[in-house]
Symmetry: C2
Subunit: 133 residues, 2 copies
DNA sequence: CTGTTATTTGTTATGTCATAACATAACATC
DNA sequence: GATGTTATGTTATGACATAACAAATAACAG
């Protein structure tokens, strides 16, 4: 277990907003939702998001320029996570794959590349949207 | 081999610019370089980039919101390519890993996810920048 | 407590990335 | 040479992100 994150007011508001929505939101989506709570400027949102992402409580989806709450409850997960983003319903599934991680680490090792961060994102259609009950 | 791409003037200018530079460029970087050639508006660049990316002659780097020429000569490569982006010198290495592809396809299969596109990007420091000359 | 330091917050302005909407031109095919 | 398609030009606007600075709040040693 890791130490308690102890969120500030703004961080708590932003995380709550992401969790309530469940699907990816842009910083400006979040801003719009939190106007009533006194959040007035993009920077307030971006600053909170920076901390949440650093703490592993939220993720940035590079291919969407958007953010989601981490799916794992109380997740402070570090390391490689892959995302499958449904372009129809907006849902995001997270999965960790040790083999992929190993392959990326292996390539980096061979190539002398020192990895700071990795992005693995799939865009497509989720099971629910492919075969609507 | 695939059919001849037959680039238009704007596409040729944009691709030439990317190839000459070698490292990732934003659409506006390209625009700046091509002002002298009559390219005046962002859309002219974005439209050319769309075609180049679709043809596999250039790649979009999602984590950078930028573009690079495809590294493989005459490359019309399709499918999964991973990128290692050096945050120090800006260089980009492309590599294809069949195992990673297999794992992603395998996950998608199991989960009923239909993948349209995949992004795999590493950010870090390349060998040359880690151990300067 | 009190002073000092570090962090968080608020606010304005600006920078950067990307596309909508519409008009025009080039080109192929019949 | 009429028609459908693709590429282009142009203006305006939308969407994502940060710089710079001031003020408030938290953390903590003395």
């Amino acid at each position: 277990m890791t130490e308690p994150p102890k969120l500030t007011r703004n961080q708590d508001l932003v995380l709550g907003c992401l969790q309530k929505t469940g699907t990816p939101m842009s910083a400006y989506d979040i801003l719009g939702q939190l106007k009533a709570d006194g959040i007035k400027a993009p920077l307030q949102v971006y600053r909170a998001l920076d901390k949440l992402v650093a703490a592993g409580l939220a993720h940035r989806l590079e291919s969407l320029n958007a953010f989601v709450a981490c799916a794992g409850d109380e997740c402070h997960r570090r390391g490689l996570i892959a995302f499958a983003i449904c372009e129809t319903c907006g849902s995001v599934e997270e999965f960790a794959d040790a083999v992929i991680r190993q392959r990326l680490d292996g390539w980096a090792e061979e190539s002398g590349f020192h990895t700071h961060s990795a992005t693995v994102e799939l865009r497509g259609t989720c099971a629910g949207c492919t075969r609507p009950h």
